[in-house]
Symmetry: C2
Subunit: 69 residues, 2 copies
DNA sequence: ATTATTTGTAAAATATACTTGACATAGTGT
DNA sequence: ACACTATGTCAAGTATATTTTACAAATAAT
């Protein structure tokens, strides 16, 4: 369950995973794992990502998640 | 930095913190802490809360968070 | 061919989300 | 007065998000 909306919003701004990670204050692996769908970030990180990419929560994280907790 | 949108959306459905917790599969204290603003839930939990209350992420969790990470 | 950048992935350590159990308080009803 | 429900809070434990270090593979450029 990859997050392709995130991946494409990042591509649209021509940012690498490392760039975005730095803008959000997290590690590159964290961004990678989120795009890959491996886990379940905190909402504050999601908000930081949204602000870095000029999107809202609904645009990047709503729908197509139906996992546990 | 309380989450009053959540508190009022819950009240609008006449649910106790315990009721909502049960619908989301978490403990009552977790809901209490989120409303109180103590922490930083995961996005999957936010999504579960939104679905239980018939709201979207933007409606309950966007704006007025400016904390760390 | 080689250098540089990006991405995918993994294991060990640390920070923190979340649970369980418990107690105190306020409100509502009998 | 007593029972009941909802909320606020705390301390100790467990689960998991996130970091750090590291390595391999793919792409683009020279």
């Amino acid at each position: 369950m990859k997050n392709l909306k995130l991946k494409s919003a990042r591509a649209a701004k021509d940012l690498s995973q490392g760039d975005l990670a730095q803008m959000c204050g997290v590690s590159r692996q964290t961004i990678n794992a989120i795009e890959k769908g491996d886990y379940n970030p905190t909402i504050n990180l999601c908000i930081a990502i949204c602000k870095a990419l000029g999107k809202t929560l609904d645009e990047l994280f709503w729908e197509d998640e139906k996992d546990e907790r």
